[in-house]
């Protein structure tokens, strides 16, 4: 294998991104970094330590660049929502994205021009129920604008940070009718808007049900693909949906071959291709993978024009610097990380596999069948290696491990390279051609079947959890192995030096591995009270690692149903089996997530009341329960769960009690782990509470009370509170709801708890970790965190 060509930008790029990463966690006034950069640059004029000071200068420039993203001018929308988290004002602005239809509302990004006649910069997410708005419209209306909320549950998707990486810090919705005005668009913007409109129109007219798919692969608009995405994701083919190097490469080949026929001068062809690429990037709204592909291809074309041999790694490094210079926060987006890892691996690791031929001169010597065989091998080997190298990032971010793509890509990639040109043909032919459309439909059907098949392959797991340390360890091992491979391929004089690096990587990897697993073992009881809006959703992880779910949150049309609030935490902690699921009573803010839980997780025992099983809704679960072979335990009297180290009593309902009010038939639970005790009373109202007082007064006194019925005034009688005398309380409710929970009267009753009263609508989720002697409390929205070591 020949030596890789010199790539002078690679080192500066690595230093630059290290600077950005350091800057993200380093908070100091920008002026220090400006001074530092200037000093380093001046010192770098000295001959002796030029390189060292240049490195330092680039590093501090990186820090400076990311720290600049945190300051905004006073008239920027972010500065405004920082001081007024909610405001209602007349607004002028322009729609700068496609208008997406989500259920019965329309959503788009709005570039703000004026708020209440004051000039304002920045963009917001906007939603309205008014139809007929288009990309590029200038609009005015009275709107309600608010800051984007932080995520309130552990491990759940950080929407705030995701939007911040796109420079969006606020969202809004229209309070009045939106008026569309004539807008002054620049000539170029107008052309691009019209091209988009033309392409979208053609796609919608000519592709029917496949329009969503075509929009994704041709113009990078994935908004109409909801159910397809999960299948393709499991099939390991979701990269085919993101417009990336593959797509841009195919488009480039098609257009280059066409232009070549029309124009003799290759350099004119190349220059016009660069222009077309930039227009295409604009059409695809410059997503990270498109930006990367467009920048890299353009640089490749420039290299061809000035007749230099392109150095791929150098070009990759330049595109990384360019993208992170324009938007440094992109560095932390998964899309960019995956895109660059993929190309890095393709350029560095794949060529080391010696039984596939990649070079042109080697390929020329192969016969026809061998060429095809080699092609298949290339796809197989490279998708295998890519899958392995991208797995840690995917596991860390999405808790998935997926090797189905190794098989899936074998047909998936060739299919997409036929589907893409074919769809372009159908889009740009002046008249619709039945023949092409039919063959397209046929291929699409095949693609559908194939992705279904590869999604059903067994190499997929959705419950992989690794922390960042483990991710780094895996990368160290992978790269050290990969570099080891090179050492054998060519014999260099630097052999010993490379060996050292290899062992250094391996040793550091094993040290980190040791630390990362040491942190795992614990003898703690962990209770997580999720913020699921209005509903109950709690998870208990016992010291012996038995998993108990108490209630499953509200139904899935609500904003923070099980999948959004609790599921990310379960995935992130590798919990795919629930040993006990307790549904306290038959109200849908308690059983709402049960269908999803049955679908996605394994349940060993389902604990329910007799009452629940008599309801109509129970029928809808019965099939699934049978199929999953989970044992149904009916609570008709006081009992306990057989746990090893901790006590878990079920106090209510007992056989001497009956109430017509379902709330009063709630399962009430008491847990004891050494000195720490918790009481969950479901939605018990006064009647139920009185029964508990009557039957089990000795079991009611405890440290922590899950306050009954979302803080309703019908629960929490004075006598009951006196019997429990909690030190901590948790009310599981959102703040604005039609029952106006939590009721004022109830809050007054628990006034004595002071700061120890948690409300999910204010504090977000609450997690308690206790060893039975002391308890560690942590909330996820209000960021309270403290330890109580006075348990007794």
């Amino acid at each position: 294998m020949p030596k890789s060509p010199p790539s002078p930008i690679v080192l500066p790029a690595i230093i630059w991104i290290s600077g950005i990463i350091a800057g993200k966690y380093l908070h100091a006034p920008q002026i220090y970094f400006i001074i530092a950069t200037v000093i380093f640059l001046i010192f770098s004029c000295l001959k002796k330590f030029r390189l060292h000071f240049l490195i330092l200068a680039i590093f501090s420039l990186g820090i400076l660049r990311i720290s600049l993203t945190t300051i905004f001018p006073i008239n920027h929308i972010n500065s405004i929502v920082q001081s007024y988290p909610q405001l209602m004002q007349p607004i002028n602005g322009r729609i700068i994205s496609e208008v997406r239809k989500v259920e019965d509302s329309f959503r788009f990004t709005l570039e703000i021009d004026e708020i209440a006649d004051v000039k304002v910069d920045g963009k917001i997410n906007f939603s309205t129920r008014q139809a007929g708005l288009k990309y590029g419209d200038a609009v005015s209306m009275v709107a309600f604008i608010r800051k984007i909320a932080k995520n309130s549950n552990p491990s759940s998707f950080d929407y705030q940070e995701y939007l911040a990486s796109k420079n969006i810090f606020a969202s809004g919705y229209a309070k009045t009718i939106i008026k569309v005005k004539d807008s002054k668009k620049t000539f170029l913007k107008n052309i691009i808007i019209n091209i988009r409109k033309f392409i979208r129109g053609r796609i919608e007219n000519r592709f029917g049900t496949n329009a969503g798919f075509i929009k994704a692969i041709v113009i990078g608009d994935k908004s109409e693909l909801a159910e397809w995405r999960t299948t393709l994701n499991k099939a390991g083919l979701s990269h085919l949906l993101a417009v990336s190097g593959l797509h841009v490469g195919i488009l480039y080949l098609i257009i280059f071959s066409l232009l070549k026929l029309l124009i003799r001068n290759r350099n004119i062809v190349r220059v016009s291709l660069i222009i077309l690429l930039i227009i295409y990037g604009e059409i695809c709204s410059w997503s990270p993978s498109v930006s990367r592909a467009v920048i890299m291809l353009s640089l490749y074309l420039v290299a061809k024009i000035i007749q230099r041999k392109p150095a791929p790694k150098n070009i990759l490094a330049i595109s990384l610097i360019t993208i992170t210079f324009i938007q440094p926060s992109q560095l932390f987006s998964v899309g960019l990380q995956l895109s660059f890892t993929a190309v890095f691996v393709l350029l560095n690791i794949v060529p080391r596999i010696r039984f596939i031929k990649l070079r042109k001169d080697e390929l020329e010597l192969l016969s026809g069948t061998k060429k095809i065989l080699n092609g298949i091998l290339i796809i197989f080997v490279s998708s295998g290696i890519l899958n392995i190298f991208m797995a840690p990032i995917i596991a860390f971010n999405f808790n998935q491990f997926n090797m189905n793509g190794i098989i899936g890509n074998l047909i998936g990639i060739p299919l997409i390279s036929i589907l893409l040109p074919l769809s372009l043909l159908i889009i740009f032919l002046p008249v619709g051609m039945i023949f092409y459309q039919n063959s397209f439909r046929l291929l699409m059907l095949f693609f559908d079947k194939w992705s279904g098949f590869s999604a059903s392959l067994p190499m997929f797991s959705g419950f992989i959890s690794i922390n960042s340390l483990q991710m780094i360890v895996i990368y160290l091992i992978l790269f050290s192995l990969a570099f080891h491979m090179k050492k054998e391929a060519i014999k260099t004089t630097k052999k010993t030096k490379k060996k050292n690096i290899f062992f250094l990587l391996l040793i550091s990897a094993s040290i980190m591995l040791f630390f990362s697993f040491r942190r795992e073992s614990s003898n703690n009881l962990k209770i997580t009270f999720f913020d699921c809006g209005l509903g109950d959703l709690f998870l208990v992880e016992t010291p012996d690692n038995e998993i108990i779910l108490i209630d499953s949150g509200p139904p899935d049309f609500t904003y923070q149903h099980f999948e959004k609030s609790a599921f990310p935490y379960l995935k992130n902690n590798g919990i795919s089996t629930l040993d006990w699921v307790i549904i306290t009573h038959a109200h849908n803010d308690h059983y709402g997530g049960l269908e999803f839980v049955l679908q996605e997780l394994k349940i060993k025992n389902l604990v329910v009341t007799d009452e629940f099983q008599k309801r109509k809704i129970w029928k809808t679960f019965e099939d699934k329960i049978e199929q999953e072979q989970c044992e149904v335990i009916t609570i008709s009297d006081t009992t306990h769960l057989p746990l090893q180290t901790m006590k878990f009593k079920i106090l209510h309902p007992n056989n001497s009690f009956y109430s017509k009010n379902i709330n009063n038939m709630s399962i009430a639970v008491r847990m004891d782990y050494f000195d720490f005790s918790v009481l969950f009373t479901g939605d018990l109202e006064k009647e139920g509470e009185n029964h508990l007082l009557l039957c089990y007064p000795e079991f009611l006194d405890c440290d922590f009370l899950k306050i009954g019925h979302h803080g309703s005034k019908t629960s929490s009688s004075i006598e009951f509170i006196k019997a429990v005398t909690p030190e901590y309380g948790f009310i599981s409710t959102s703040l604005k709801n039609r029952f106006s929970f939590p009721h004022e009267v109830t809050l007054e009753k628990y006034d004595f708890l002071g700061p120890n009263l948690f409300i999910s609508g204010i504090d977000g989720a609450l997690q308690i970790i206790t060893d039975g002697k002391k308890a560690h409390f942590k909330t996820f929205l209000s960021d309270k965190e403290f330890v109580d070591d006075t348990l007794e």
């Binding site: 930008i9 290299a303 007749q307 230099r308 150098n314 020329e364």
Partner: protein, 237 residues
Amino acid sequence: MKSIFTNFLNPIIDLIFPKICLGCNCKLGREQTFLCSECEAFLEFLTGNICEICGSIKVENQCRTCETNTFSFDKACSVFHFNQVVQNLIHELKYSEMTKIAKYLGGFTVEYLEKFQPFKNVDIISPVPLHKVKKRARGFNQAEFLTKEIAKKMNWQHTPNLVLRKKFTKTQTKLKRNQRQINVSGAFVLNPKFDVAQKNILIVDDVFTTGSTVNAFSKLLKNNAVSKIYVLTIARA
């Protein structure tokens, strides 16, 4: 203006698109163009004990190539020994469209021609033509770039369209010797615009492997009463 360009812009271009040695992928200095000094040393003129007719190296004073073949040309020469460096250069010229390499190789060829004077009284210099479809696909004829360069320096008449390729042939690189001969036989026709009678003609190609291509070309010229037919190739496989 020019000094601004060379002092300021060139270093930036070198940073983004570093000059790479086409032989060993190492970094090139500012005055080097395609090869580092180590690789340039591999560009050796093919001299010494070579066959008077086909230009191959003789083994024990006998030419193996001429024993088994009869050639229609009068004399063939190659500029360089064939090696990885020469192959890379020709490869980048043919497939990566680095047309500046033609100028670079042309310079060496002229140096070779002036030093060894292998051909006497050349009237016309002509490249081996490409089929027009192939030329369109590749964008240029690499041999034509070479002949243009040589003709300019040596003051010979440059006629790139002397012969046309009428048959679309398979690429020779993958074929065996006898297949190659069949493949190119009857591939060329003479352009009626030119009068070649009693002229000395020099044919230029990039690589001489079995000589089948240039031989087919020569056969055609021989049938048209050409006085002397010379063949020049950059390398000899």
